[in-house]
Protein backbone atom coordinates (compact mmCIF):
# COMPACT_ATOMS: atom_id res chain seq x y z
CA UNK A 1 0.00 0.00 0.00
CA UNK A 2 1.13 3.46 -0.80
CA UNK A 3 1.82 5.94 1.94
CA UNK A 4 2.06 9.67 2.22
CA UNK A 5 5.77 9.65 2.92
CA UNK A 6 6.54 7.04 0.29
CA UNK A 7 5.23 9.39 -2.35
CA UNK A 8 7.85 11.91 -1.27
CA UNK A 9 10.64 9.51 -2.12
CA UNK A 10 10.89 10.00 -5.89
CA UNK A 11 11.09 13.73 -5.36
CA UNK A 12 13.73 13.42 -2.67
CA UNK A 13 15.62 10.93 -4.79
CA UNK A 14 15.51 13.25 -7.76
CA UNK A 15 16.96 16.06 -5.76
CA UNK A 16 19.87 14.08 -4.38
CA UNK A 17 20.62 12.43 -7.66
CA UNK A 18 22.66 15.13 -9.21
CA UNK A 19 25.50 14.03 -6.97
CA UNK A 20 25.10 10.48 -8.33
CA UNK A 21 26.09 8.92 -5.03
CA UNK A 22 24.36 6.93 -2.35
CA UNK A 23 23.33 8.86 0.71
CA UNK A 24 21.85 7.56 3.93
CA UNK A 25 20.71 9.00 7.25
CA UNK A 26 20.58 6.60 10.17
CA UNK A 27 18.68 7.54 13.32
CA UNK A 28 18.47 5.56 16.54
CA UNK A 29 16.24 5.75 19.55
CA UNK A 30 17.35 7.59 22.66
CA UNK A 31 15.06 5.39 24.74
CA UNK A 32 16.46 2.47 26.65
CA UNK A 33 16.33 -0.66 24.54
CA UNK A 34 16.05 -4.04 26.17
CA UNK A 35 18.88 -6.24 24.93
CA UNK A 36 18.11 -8.88 22.39
CA UNK A 37 17.91 -12.41 23.72
CA UNK A 38 19.15 -14.89 21.17
CA UNK A 39 18.09 -15.07 17.56
CA UNK A 40 15.40 -12.60 16.68
CA UNK A 41 12.17 -13.23 14.88
CA UNK A 42 11.58 -10.23 12.69
CA UNK A 43 8.22 -9.49 11.21
CA UNK A 44 8.59 -7.93 7.80
CA UNK A 45 5.42 -5.95 7.57
CA UNK A 46 3.97 -5.82 4.03
CA UNK A 47 6.79 -3.98 2.27
CA UNK A 48 5.60 -1.16 0.11
CA UNK A 49 7.62 -1.18 -3.13
CA UNK A 50 6.73 0.57 -6.35
CA UNK A 51 8.86 0.90 -9.45
CA UNK A 52 8.01 3.26 -12.26
CA UNK A 53 9.02 4.24 -15.69
CA UNK A 54 10.01 7.90 -15.81
CA UNK A 55 9.03 9.23 -19.20
CA UNK A 56 10.18 12.23 -21.18
CA UNK A 57 7.70 14.73 -19.79
CA UNK A 58 8.33 13.84 -16.13
CA UNK A 59 5.20 11.71 -15.98
CA UNK A 60 5.92 8.46 -14.20
CA UNK A 61 4.11 5.25 -15.02
CA UNK A 62 4.06 2.33 -12.61
CA UNK A 63 5.33 -0.90 -14.11
CA UNK A 64 3.74 -3.99 -12.58
CA UNK A 65 6.45 -6.34 -13.81
CA UNK A 66 9.36 -4.21 -12.57
CA UNK A 67 7.62 -3.82 -9.22
CA UNK A 68 7.26 -7.58 -8.83
CA UNK A 69 10.90 -8.13 -9.69
CA UNK A 70 12.22 -5.28 -7.56
CA UNK A 71 10.14 -6.36 -4.57
CA UNK A 72 11.28 -9.96 -4.89
CA UNK A 73 14.95 -8.96 -5.21
CA UNK A 74 14.83 -6.62 -2.24
CA UNK A 75 13.06 -9.17 -0.04
CA UNK A 76 15.53 -11.86 -0.98
CA UNK A 77 18.47 -9.57 -0.12
CA UNK A 78 16.95 -8.58 3.21
CA UNK A 79 16.32 -12.19 4.09
CA UNK A 80 19.91 -13.11 3.17
CA UNK A 81 21.44 -10.25 5.10
CA UNK A 82 19.46 -10.96 8.23
CA UNK A 83 19.98 -14.72 7.96
CA UNK A 84 23.74 -14.25 7.97
CA UNK A 85 23.29 -12.61 11.36
CA UNK A 86 21.23 -15.53 12.60
CA UNK A 87 17.81 -13.94 12.45
CA UNK A 88 14.56 -15.18 11.00
CA UNK A 89 12.49 -12.97 8.74
CA UNK A 90 8.78 -13.63 8.66
CA UNK A 91 6.74 -11.95 5.96
CA UNK A 92 3.59 -10.59 7.50
CA UNK A 93 0.47 -9.67 5.60
CA UNK A 94 -1.82 -7.29 7.38
CA UNK A 95 -5.11 -8.91 8.35
CA UNK A 96 -7.76 -6.36 7.37
CA UNK A 97 -10.15 -7.85 9.94
CA UNK A 98 -7.72 -7.17 12.78
CA UNK A 99 -8.62 -3.62 13.72
CA UNK A 100 -5.66 -3.18 16.11
CA UNK A 101 -3.13 -4.25 13.52
CA UNK A 102 -4.65 -2.01 10.88
CA UNK A 103 -4.43 0.97 13.25
CA UNK A 104 -0.80 0.20 14.17
CA UNK A 105 0.23 0.06 10.53
CA UNK A 106 -1.57 3.31 9.73
CA UNK A 107 0.02 4.89 12.78
CA UNK A 108 3.41 3.83 11.51
CA UNK A 109 2.83 5.59 8.20
CA UNK A 110 2.22 8.82 10.08
CA UNK A 111 5.17 8.32 12.39
CA UNK A 112 7.41 7.59 9.39
CA UNK A 113 6.22 10.70 7.59
CA UNK A 114 6.74 12.73 10.77
CA UNK A 115 10.29 11.46 11.16
CA UNK A 116 11.06 12.22 7.52
CA UNK A 117 9.67 15.72 7.69
CA UNK A 118 11.13 16.73 11.04
CA UNK A 119 14.38 14.82 11.20
CA UNK A 120 15.41 14.24 7.64
CA UNK A 121 14.05 17.28 5.88
CA UNK A 122 15.23 19.67 8.55
CA UNK A 123 12.30 21.28 10.32
CA UNK A 124 13.30 19.97 13.76
CA UNK A 125 10.89 19.95 16.68
CA UNK A 126 12.28 21.86 19.66
CA UNK A 127 10.15 19.61 21.89
CA UNK A 128 12.21 16.64 20.65
CA UNK A 129 15.62 18.22 21.02
CA UNK A 130 18.11 15.56 22.01
CA UNK A 131 15.43 12.88 21.82
CA UNK A 132 14.43 10.27 19.31
CA UNK A 133 11.64 8.54 21.15
CA UNK A 134 8.92 7.94 18.61
CA UNK A 135 6.92 4.83 19.33
CA UNK A 136 3.87 2.91 18.19
CA UNK A 137 3.06 2.07 21.79
CA UNK A 138 2.64 -1.26 23.58
CA UNK A 139 -0.36 -2.08 21.38
CA UNK A 140 2.17 -3.72 19.05
CA UNK A 141 2.23 -6.73 21.34
CA UNK A 142 -1.06 -7.90 19.81
CA UNK A 143 0.63 -8.05 16.43
CA UNK A 144 3.72 -9.73 17.79
CA UNK A 145 1.95 -12.52 19.60
CA UNK A 146 0.92 -14.82 16.79
CA UNK A 147 4.43 -15.12 15.38
CA UNK A 148 6.39 -14.61 18.58
CA UNK A 149 8.02 -11.64 16.93
CA UNK A 150 10.72 -9.64 18.68
CA UNK A 151 10.94 -6.91 16.08
CA UNK A 152 9.05 -5.61 13.11
CA UNK A 153 10.72 -4.19 10.04
CA UNK A 154 8.79 -1.71 7.93
CA UNK A 155 10.05 -0.85 4.47
CA UNK A 156 8.97 1.60 1.79
CA UNK A 157 10.90 1.73 -1.47
CA UNK A 158 10.42 3.62 -4.70
CA UNK A 159 12.33 3.48 -7.94
CA UNK A 160 12.05 5.55 -11.08
CA UNK A 161 13.91 4.50 -14.16
CA UNK A 162 14.35 6.86 -17.05
CA UNK A 163 13.25 5.97 -20.50
CA UNK A 164 15.82 6.56 -23.15
CA UNK A 165 13.60 9.40 -24.29
CA UNK A 166 14.04 11.14 -20.96
CA UNK A 167 17.81 10.89 -21.11
CA UNK A 168 17.79 12.48 -24.54
CA UNK A 169 15.80 15.36 -23.16
CA UNK A 170 18.17 15.79 -20.25
CA UNK A 171 21.10 15.96 -22.60
CA UNK A 172 19.29 18.26 -24.99
CA UNK A 173 18.32 20.74 -22.32
CA UNK A 174 21.80 20.65 -20.82
CA UNK A 175 23.26 21.53 -24.18
CA UNK A 176 20.84 24.40 -24.41
CA UNK A 177 21.83 25.62 -20.97
CA UNK A 178 18.92 24.38 -18.83
CA UNK A 179 20.09 21.78 -16.30
CA UNK A 180 18.54 19.93 -13.39
CA UNK A 181 16.30 17.42 -15.15
CA UNK A 182 15.76 14.25 -13.13
CA UNK A 183 16.93 11.02 -14.71
CA UNK A 184 15.42 8.76 -12.06
CA UNK A 185 16.75 6.96 -9.02
CA UNK A 186 15.78 4.87 -6.06
CA UNK A 187 14.91 5.72 -2.51
CA UNK A 188 13.75 3.88 0.54
CA UNK A 189 13.13 4.28 4.21
CA UNK A 190 12.96 1.60 6.80
CA UNK A 191 12.23 1.39 10.48
CA UNK A 192 12.83 -1.27 13.09
CA UNK A 193 10.23 -1.51 15.82
CA UNK A 194 10.82 -3.27 19.13
CA UNK A 195 7.70 -5.38 19.49
CA UNK A 196 7.91 -5.39 23.27
CA UNK A 197 7.53 -1.61 23.64
CA UNK A 198 6.51 -0.36 20.20
CA UNK A 199 9.54 1.94 20.16
CA UNK A 200 11.12 2.75 16.82
CA UNK A 201 14.64 1.78 17.74
CA UNK A 202 16.21 2.43 14.35
CA UNK A 203 15.20 4.43 11.29
CA UNK A 204 17.03 4.97 8.03
CA UNK A 205 16.51 6.74 4.75
CA UNK A 206 18.60 5.80 1.73
CA UNK A 207 18.89 7.09 -1.79
CA UNK A 208 20.95 5.64 -4.61
CA UNK A 209 22.01 7.24 -7.84
CA UNK A 210 21.22 6.04 -11.33
CA UNK A 211 23.11 2.93 -12.37
CA UNK A 212 22.30 0.86 -9.25
CA UNK A 213 19.10 -0.86 -10.06
CA UNK A 214 16.95 -2.99 -7.77
CA UNK A 215 15.52 -4.75 -10.79
CA UNK A 216 18.93 -6.44 -10.93
CA UNK A 217 20.21 -8.71 -8.17
CA UNK A 218 23.40 -6.70 -7.55
CA UNK A 219 21.48 -3.44 -7.59
CA UNK A 220 19.13 -4.80 -4.96
CA UNK A 221 22.08 -5.91 -2.86
CA UNK A 222 23.55 -2.40 -3.00
CA UNK A 223 20.27 -0.78 -2.05
CA UNK A 224 19.55 -3.20 0.79
CA UNK A 225 23.00 -2.79 2.33
CA UNK A 226 22.43 0.97 2.18
CA UNK A 227 18.93 0.77 3.69
CA UNK A 228 19.84 -1.65 6.45
CA UNK A 229 23.03 0.19 7.36
CA UNK A 230 23.79 0.02 11.07
CA UNK A 231 20.63 -1.87 11.85
CA UNK A 232 21.11 -3.06 15.43
CA UNK A 233 20.63 -6.72 14.71
Amino acid sequence: MSSIAARLIPVLAAMTLLAACTSTAVMETTNEVAPLEGDAVILLVEPDVELSFLKAAGVSEVRADWTETGKANVLAEIETLLATRGHKLVEHEIDPENEREVQIVKLHEIVGATILSHRFMGQPLPSKRGKFDWSLGPGVRDMAEAQGADYALFLHARGEYASSGRQAVAIGLAVLGAGGVSTGGQGAYASLVDMRTGDIIWFNVAFTGPGTDMREQDGAEHLVSAILKDIPL
Binding site: M1, S2, E50, S52, F53, K55, A56, A57, G58, V59, E61, V62, R63, A64, D65, T67, E68, P96, V102, K106, G165, A168, V169, G172, L173, V175, L176, A178
Partner: protein, 387 residues
Protein backbone atom coordinates in the same frame (compact mmCIF):
# COMPACT_ATOMS: atom_id res chain seq x y z
CA UNK B 1 24.41 29.36 -34.33
CA UNK B 2 20.64 29.84 -34.60
CA UNK B 3 20.54 27.59 -37.62
CA UNK B 4 22.36 24.82 -35.72
CA UNK B 5 19.98 25.06 -32.77
CA UNK B 6 16.96 24.87 -35.04
CA UNK B 7 18.32 21.62 -36.50
CA UNK B 8 18.86 20.17 -33.03
CA UNK B 9 15.33 21.04 -32.01
CA UNK B 10 13.67 19.46 -35.03
CA UNK B 11 15.79 16.36 -34.67
CA UNK B 12 14.74 16.08 -31.04
CA UNK B 13 11.10 16.30 -32.03
CA UNK B 14 11.51 13.61 -34.66
CA UNK B 15 13.30 11.27 -32.26
CA UNK B 16 10.79 11.59 -29.47
CA UNK B 17 7.54 11.65 -31.35
CA UNK B 18 6.78 7.90 -31.38
CA UNK B 19 3.23 7.78 -30.07
CA UNK B 20 1.29 4.90 -28.55
CA UNK B 21 -2.00 4.13 -30.25
CA UNK B 22 -4.87 5.76 -28.39
CA UNK B 23 -7.71 3.90 -30.03
CA UNK B 24 -8.31 0.76 -28.01
CA UNK B 25 -10.76 -2.10 -28.21
CA UNK B 26 -13.40 -2.44 -25.51
CA UNK B 27 -12.47 -4.54 -22.51
CA UNK B 28 -13.44 -8.20 -22.51
CA UNK B 29 -15.05 -9.58 -19.39
CA UNK B 30 -12.91 -11.28 -16.78
CA UNK B 31 -9.54 -10.18 -18.19
CA UNK B 32 -6.48 -8.49 -16.72
CA UNK B 33 -3.82 -6.81 -18.82
CA UNK B 34 -0.55 -8.70 -19.07
CA UNK B 35 2.23 -7.52 -16.82
CA UNK B 36 4.56 -5.71 -19.15
CA UNK B 37 1.92 -3.42 -20.61
CA UNK B 38 1.34 0.20 -19.65
CA UNK B 39 -2.22 -0.83 -18.85
CA UNK B 40 -0.95 -3.22 -16.19
CA UNK B 41 0.98 -0.39 -14.57
CA UNK B 42 -2.15 1.73 -14.52
CA UNK B 43 -4.10 -1.15 -12.92
CA UNK B 44 -1.41 -1.64 -10.30
CA UNK B 45 -1.58 1.98 -9.27
CA UNK B 46 -5.36 1.77 -9.16
CA UNK B 47 -5.16 -1.47 -7.16
CA UNK B 48 -3.12 0.43 -4.59
CA UNK B 49 -5.62 3.25 -4.62
CA UNK B 50 -8.33 0.64 -4.09
CA UNK B 51 -6.50 -0.81 -1.07
CA UNK B 52 -6.37 2.70 0.35
CA UNK B 53 -10.05 3.20 -0.31
CA UNK B 54 -11.00 -0.08 1.33
CA UNK B 55 -9.12 0.88 4.47
CA UNK B 56 -10.32 4.44 4.54
CA UNK B 57 -12.86 5.89 6.92
CA UNK B 58 -15.16 7.13 4.18
CA UNK B 59 -16.47 3.88 2.74
CA UNK B 60 -20.08 3.03 3.66
CA UNK B 61 -20.14 -0.65 4.52
CA UNK B 62 -23.82 -1.18 5.28
CA UNK B 63 -24.61 -4.61 3.77
CA UNK B 64 -28.19 -3.86 2.71
CA UNK B 65 -27.31 -0.64 0.93
CA UNK B 66 -24.33 -2.21 -0.80
CA UNK B 67 -26.40 -5.20 -1.88
CA UNK B 68 -28.99 -2.87 -3.37
CA UNK B 69 -26.49 -0.74 -5.31
CA UNK B 70 -24.62 -3.85 -6.49
CA UNK B 71 -27.90 -5.30 -7.79
CA UNK B 72 -28.69 -2.14 -9.74
CA UNK B 73 -25.19 -2.19 -11.18
CA UNK B 74 -25.48 -5.82 -12.25
CA UNK B 75 -28.81 -5.08 -13.93
CA UNK B 76 -27.07 -2.51 -16.07
CA UNK B 77 -23.71 -4.17 -16.69
CA UNK B 78 -25.02 -7.65 -17.31
CA UNK B 79 -23.94 -11.02 -15.90
CA UNK B 80 -20.62 -11.19 -17.73
CA UNK B 81 -19.23 -7.96 -16.24
CA UNK B 82 -21.02 -8.02 -12.92
CA UNK B 83 -18.07 -9.48 -10.97
CA UNK B 84 -15.42 -7.40 -12.72
CA UNK B 85 -16.51 -4.20 -11.06
CA UNK B 86 -16.45 -3.43 -7.36
CA UNK B 87 -18.81 -0.65 -6.38
CA UNK B 88 -17.82 1.39 -3.33
CA UNK B 89 -20.22 3.76 -1.66
CA UNK B 90 -18.24 6.71 -0.37
CA UNK B 91 -19.56 9.09 2.24
CA UNK B 92 -18.99 12.46 0.62
CA UNK B 93 -21.75 15.04 0.22
CA UNK B 94 -21.05 15.88 -3.43
CA UNK B 95 -22.86 14.53 -6.47
CA UNK B 96 -20.20 12.30 -7.98
CA UNK B 97 -19.44 8.86 -9.31
CA UNK B 98 -16.21 7.74 -10.88
CA UNK B 99 -14.67 4.72 -12.47
CA UNK B 100 -11.10 3.49 -12.34
CA UNK B 101 -9.60 1.32 -15.09
CA UNK B 102 -9.07 -1.65 -12.77
CA UNK B 103 -12.80 -2.04 -12.03
CA UNK B 104 -13.10 0.09 -8.91
CA UNK B 105 -16.20 2.28 -9.02
CA UNK B 106 -17.12 4.92 -6.49
CA UNK B 107 -20.62 6.25 -5.92
CA UNK B 108 -20.72 9.17 -3.53
CA UNK B 109 -23.53 9.56 -1.03
CA UNK B 110 -24.26 13.06 -2.37
CA UNK B 111 -25.43 11.31 -5.54
CA UNK B 112 -27.59 8.74 -3.72
CA UNK B 113 -29.12 11.63 -1.82
CA UNK B 114 -30.13 13.44 -5.01
CA UNK B 115 -31.24 10.64 -7.33
CA UNK B 116 -35.02 10.54 -7.41
CA UNK B 117 -35.40 6.85 -8.23
CA UNK B 118 -33.57 3.68 -9.18
CA UNK B 119 -33.67 4.47 -12.90
CA UNK B 120 -31.64 7.64 -12.39
CA UNK B 121 -29.07 5.74 -10.33
CA UNK B 122 -28.98 3.05 -13.02
CA UNK B 123 -28.17 5.60 -15.70
CA UNK B 124 -25.24 6.98 -13.73
CA UNK B 125 -23.90 3.48 -13.05
CA UNK B 126 -24.29 2.65 -16.73
CA UNK B 127 -22.41 5.79 -17.70
CA UNK B 128 -19.52 4.92 -15.37
CA UNK B 129 -19.52 1.33 -16.55
CA UNK B 130 -19.18 2.61 -20.11
CA UNK B 131 -15.97 4.45 -19.16
CA UNK B 132 -14.62 1.17 -17.86
CA UNK B 133 -15.76 -1.02 -20.68
CA UNK B 134 -14.52 1.38 -23.36
CA UNK B 135 -11.19 1.64 -21.50
CA UNK B 136 -11.30 5.41 -21.48
CA UNK B 137 -8.68 5.65 -18.76
CA UNK B 138 -6.17 3.84 -20.90
CA UNK B 139 -6.95 5.97 -23.91
CA UNK B 140 -6.72 9.05 -21.75
CA UNK B 141 -3.42 7.94 -20.22
CA UNK B 142 -1.92 7.39 -23.66
CA UNK B 143 -3.21 10.72 -24.87
CA UNK B 144 -1.68 12.43 -21.89
CA UNK B 145 1.59 10.71 -22.58
CA UNK B 146 1.56 11.78 -26.17
CA UNK B 147 0.51 15.29 -25.27
CA UNK B 148 3.11 15.37 -22.49
CA UNK B 149 5.82 14.21 -24.82
CA UNK B 150 4.79 16.83 -27.28
CA UNK B 151 4.71 19.55 -24.67
CA UNK B 152 8.27 18.75 -23.64
CA UNK B 153 9.31 18.67 -27.24
CA UNK B 154 7.56 21.96 -27.57
CA UNK B 155 9.82 23.25 -24.78
CA UNK B 156 12.94 21.98 -26.41
CA UNK B 157 12.05 23.07 -29.92
CA UNK B 158 10.80 26.47 -28.98
CA UNK B 159 13.62 27.15 -26.53
CA UNK B 160 15.98 26.56 -29.38
CA UNK B 161 14.16 29.09 -31.49
CA UNK B 162 14.44 31.66 -28.72
CA UNK B 163 10.81 32.11 -27.67
CA UNK B 164 10.49 32.76 -23.93
CA UNK B 165 7.75 31.26 -21.75
CA UNK B 166 6.87 28.55 -24.22
CA UNK B 167 6.50 26.18 -21.27
CA UNK B 168 3.28 27.94 -20.30
CA UNK B 169 1.66 27.16 -23.63
CA UNK B 170 2.77 23.54 -23.47
CA UNK B 171 1.30 23.03 -20.00
CA UNK B 172 -1.99 24.59 -21.01
CA UNK B 173 -2.97 21.74 -23.32
CA UNK B 174 -1.61 19.11 -20.95
CA UNK B 175 -3.68 20.48 -18.07
CA UNK B 176 -6.82 20.36 -20.19
CA UNK B 177 -6.28 16.64 -20.62
CA UNK B 178 -5.84 16.06 -16.92
CA UNK B 179 -9.28 17.35 -15.87
CA UNK B 180 -11.39 14.22 -16.00
CA UNK B 181 -12.11 12.31 -19.12
CA UNK B 182 -12.70 15.14 -21.51
CA UNK B 183 -15.84 15.87 -23.37
CA UNK B 184 -15.58 13.30 -26.16
CA UNK B 185 -15.34 10.45 -23.72
CA UNK B 186 -18.14 11.83 -21.58
CA UNK B 187 -20.39 11.91 -24.64
CA UNK B 188 -19.43 8.37 -25.51
CA UNK B 189 -20.14 7.24 -21.94
CA UNK B 190 -23.56 8.90 -22.10
CA UNK B 191 -24.42 7.09 -25.33
CA UNK B 192 -23.26 3.67 -24.19
CA UNK B 193 -24.63 4.23 -20.68
CA UNK B 194 -28.01 5.10 -22.17
CA UNK B 195 -27.94 1.86 -24.11
CA UNK B 196 -27.03 -0.33 -21.16
CA UNK B 197 -29.64 1.06 -18.81
CA UNK B 198 -32.52 1.06 -21.28
CA UNK B 199 -31.71 -2.52 -22.26
CA UNK B 200 -32.02 -3.37 -18.57
CA UNK B 201 -35.59 -2.04 -18.69
CA UNK B 202 -35.22 1.32 -16.98
CA UNK B 203 -37.18 4.38 -18.01
CA UNK B 204 -35.21 6.38 -20.62
CA UNK B 205 -36.47 9.73 -19.30
CA UNK B 206 -34.42 9.19 -16.14
CA UNK B 207 -31.16 9.92 -17.97
CA UNK B 208 -32.05 13.54 -18.64
CA UNK B 209 -34.04 13.67 -15.40
CA UNK B 210 -31.09 13.45 -13.06
CA UNK B 211 -29.29 16.27 -14.84
CA UNK B 212 -32.41 18.42 -14.93
CA UNK B 213 -32.70 18.06 -11.16
CA UNK B 214 -29.05 18.98 -10.67
CA UNK B 215 -29.36 22.08 -12.84
CA UNK B 216 -32.37 23.23 -10.82
CA UNK B 217 -30.63 22.62 -7.52
CA UNK B 218 -27.46 24.40 -8.63
CA UNK B 219 -29.48 27.40 -9.78
CA UNK B 220 -30.63 27.74 -6.18
CA UNK B 221 -27.05 27.77 -4.88
CA UNK B 222 -25.72 30.47 -2.57
CA UNK B 223 -22.52 30.46 -4.60
CA UNK B 224 -22.37 32.52 -7.80
CA UNK B 225 -19.41 30.52 -8.91
CA UNK B 226 -21.28 27.23 -8.81
CA UNK B 227 -24.11 28.76 -10.81
CA UNK B 228 -21.67 29.91 -13.48
CA UNK B 229 -20.06 26.47 -13.69
CA UNK B 230 -23.09 24.83 -15.26
CA UNK B 231 -23.10 27.21 -18.20
CA UNK B 232 -19.37 27.39 -18.69
CA UNK B 233 -17.97 25.35 -21.49
CA UNK B 234 -14.28 26.09 -21.22
CA UNK B 235 -11.92 23.37 -22.25
CA UNK B 236 -11.15 22.71 -18.59
CA UNK B 237 -14.59 21.54 -17.59
CA UNK B 238 -14.74 17.82 -16.95
CA UNK B 239 -18.15 17.27 -18.49
CA UNK B 240 -19.77 18.62 -21.61
CA UNK B 241 -22.06 21.59 -21.17
CA UNK B 242 -24.93 20.19 -19.13
CA UNK B 243 -27.73 21.79 -21.14
CA UNK B 244 -26.34 20.14 -24.24
CA UNK B 245 -26.17 16.82 -22.45
CA UNK B 246 -29.76 17.10 -21.35
CA UNK B 247 -30.89 17.77 -24.92
CA UNK B 248 -28.94 14.80 -26.26
CA UNK B 249 -30.31 12.48 -23.61
CA UNK B 250 -33.84 13.73 -24.14
CA UNK B 251 -33.43 13.13 -27.83
CA UNK B 252 -32.36 9.54 -27.22
CA UNK B 253 -35.25 9.06 -24.78
CA UNK B 254 -37.73 10.34 -27.33
CA UNK B 255 -36.98 7.38 -29.56
CA UNK B 256 -37.12 4.75 -26.82
CA UNK B 257 -39.91 2.92 -25.01
CA UNK B 258 -40.93 3.74 -21.46
CA UNK B 259 -39.50 1.63 -18.65
CA UNK B 260 -39.42 1.23 -14.87
CA UNK B 261 -38.35 3.81 -12.31
CA UNK B 262 -38.56 1.63 -9.21
CA UNK B 263 -38.83 4.65 -6.94
CA UNK B 264 -40.18 2.69 -3.97
CA UNK B 265 -37.29 0.25 -3.80
CA UNK B 266 -34.89 3.15 -4.12
CA UNK B 267 -36.59 5.23 -1.44
CA UNK B 268 -36.61 2.23 0.91
CA UNK B 269 -32.91 1.58 0.40
CA UNK B 270 -31.91 5.18 1.04
CA UNK B 271 -34.33 6.13 3.88
CA UNK B 272 -32.17 4.89 6.80
CA UNK B 273 -29.36 7.22 5.70
CA UNK B 274 -31.32 10.34 4.87
CA UNK B 275 -30.68 12.08 8.20
CA UNK B 276 -26.92 11.45 8.15
CA UNK B 277 -26.45 12.37 4.51
CA UNK B 278 -28.43 15.57 4.83
CA UNK B 279 -26.37 16.43 7.92
CA UNK B 280 -23.21 15.90 5.81
CA UNK B 281 -24.63 18.16 3.10
CA UNK B 282 -25.44 20.91 5.59
CA UNK B 283 -21.76 21.06 6.60
CA UNK B 284 -21.14 22.53 3.14
CA UNK B 285 -23.24 25.55 4.24
CA UNK B 286 -24.83 26.11 0.82
CA UNK B 287 -28.27 26.89 2.22
CA UNK B 288 -29.74 27.61 -1.18
CA UNK B 289 -28.93 24.19 -2.57
CA UNK B 290 -29.61 22.40 0.68
CA UNK B 291 -33.08 23.86 1.17
CA UNK B 292 -33.94 23.24 -2.48
CA UNK B 293 -33.01 19.57 -1.97
CA UNK B 294 -35.07 19.23 1.19
CA UNK B 295 -38.08 21.05 -0.27
CA UNK B 296 -37.94 18.79 -3.31
CA UNK B 297 -37.95 15.70 -1.11
CA UNK B 298 -40.76 16.99 1.07
CA UNK B 299 -42.91 17.16 -2.07
CA UNK B 300 -42.67 13.37 -2.32
CA UNK B 301 -44.34 13.19 1.08
CA UNK B 302 -42.19 10.51 2.73
CA UNK B 303 -39.75 10.56 5.66
CA UNK B 304 -41.30 13.80 6.87
CA UNK B 305 -40.02 13.44 10.44
CA UNK B 306 -36.45 13.44 9.15
CA UNK B 307 -37.06 16.09 6.49
CA UNK B 308 -38.79 18.66 8.71
CA UNK B 309 -36.06 18.17 11.33
CA UNK B 310 -33.36 18.71 8.73
CA UNK B 311 -35.11 21.76 7.36
CA UNK B 312 -35.24 23.17 10.88
CA UNK B 313 -31.49 22.59 11.24
CA UNK B 314 -30.84 24.46 8.00
CA UNK B 315 -32.82 27.51 9.07
CA UNK B 316 -31.23 27.47 12.51
CA UNK B 317 -27.76 27.64 11.01
CA UNK B 318 -28.65 30.05 8.23
CA UNK B 319 -29.85 32.67 10.74
CA UNK B 320 -31.42 35.13 8.32
CA UNK B 321 -34.30 37.30 9.51
CA UNK B 322 -37.14 35.09 10.66
CA UNK B 323 -35.08 31.89 10.44
CA UNK B 324 -35.28 31.05 14.16
CA UNK B 325 -39.07 31.11 13.85
CA UNK B 326 -38.92 28.94 10.76
CA UNK B 327 -36.63 26.51 12.55
CA UNK B 328 -39.02 26.20 15.50
CA UNK B 329 -41.94 25.74 13.14
CA UNK B 330 -40.15 22.89 11.33
CA UNK B 331 -39.05 21.17 14.52
CA UNK B 332 -42.62 21.35 15.81
CA UNK B 333 -43.85 19.66 12.64
CA UNK B 334 -41.07 17.08 12.70
CA UNK B 335 -41.94 15.65 16.11
CA UNK B 336 -45.44 14.84 14.89
CA UNK B 337 -43.99 12.05 12.77
CA UNK B 338 -42.75 8.63 13.87
CA UNK B 339 -39.54 8.78 11.90
CA UNK B 340 -38.26 11.97 13.58
CA UNK B 341 -34.69 11.34 14.80
CA UNK B 342 -34.28 11.71 18.59
CA UNK B 343 -32.12 14.81 17.96
CA UNK B 344 -35.28 16.49 16.68
CA UNK B 345 -36.54 16.66 20.27
CA UNK B 346 -33.32 18.25 21.43
CA UNK B 347 -33.43 20.78 18.63
CA UNK B 348 -37.03 21.59 19.57
CA UNK B 349 -35.98 22.02 23.21
CA UNK B 350 -33.20 24.44 22.27
CA UNK B 351 -35.47 26.43 20.00
CA UNK B 352 -38.11 26.73 22.73
CA UNK B 353 -35.46 27.63 25.29
CA UNK B 354 -34.20 30.38 22.99
CA UNK B 355 -37.73 31.77 22.87
CA UNK B 356 -37.99 31.68 26.67
CA UNK B 357 -40.70 29.00 26.59
CA UNK B 358 -39.22 27.09 29.50
CA UNK B 359 -42.03 24.66 30.31
CA UNK B 360 -42.25 23.43 26.74
CA UNK B 361 -38.45 23.31 26.48
CA UNK B 362 -38.26 21.10 29.57
CA UNK B 363 -40.76 18.71 28.09
CA UNK B 364 -38.88 18.45 24.81
CA UNK B 365 -35.51 17.95 26.50
CA UNK B 366 -37.03 15.36 28.79
CA UNK B 367 -38.35 13.45 25.81
CA UNK B 368 -34.91 13.60 24.16
CA UNK B 369 -33.08 12.24 27.20
CA UNK B 370 -35.67 9.49 27.51
CA UNK B 371 -35.13 8.44 23.88
CA UNK B 372 -31.33 8.76 24.00
CA UNK B 373 -29.85 7.35 27.20
CA UNK B 374 -26.38 8.00 25.77
CA UNK B 375 -27.14 11.55 24.66
CA UNK B 376 -23.80 13.39 24.30
CA UNK B 377 -25.46 16.64 25.44
CA UNK B 378 -26.82 15.14 28.66
CA UNK B 379 -24.40 17.08 30.85
CA UNK B 380 -25.40 20.42 29.36
CA UNK B 381 -29.11 19.69 29.32
CA UNK B 382 -29.28 18.36 32.86
CA UNK B 383 -27.35 21.39 34.14
CA UNK B 384 -29.98 23.66 32.60
CA UNK B 385 -32.87 21.55 33.82
CA UNK B 386 -31.58 21.84 37.36
CA UNK B 387 -31.49 25.63 37.29
Amino acid sequence: MRGFRAIVSFAAIAALSACATTDVDPLQADTRPSEETDEAGLWLRMDEAEDLLQQSAVVVRDPALNAYVDEVFCNVAGEAYCDDVRVYIVEQPYFNANMSPNGMMQVWTGLLLRAENEAQLAFVLGHEFAHYRQRHSLEQWREINNAANLSVLFNVGVAAAGVPNAAVLGNFTLAAQLYGFGRDKEREADEFGFGYFTEAGYDPAAAAGIWEYLIAETEASDSDRKKRQIARSSIFSTHPVTAERVETLKGLAGEAEAGIENDEAFAGAVAPFLNDWLADDLVLRDFGQHLHLIDHKIEAGQNLGVLYFRRGEAYRLRREDGDFERALDNYSKAVLFDDVPPQGWMALGEALQRRGEEMEARAAYGKYLELMPDAPERGIIEAWLEE
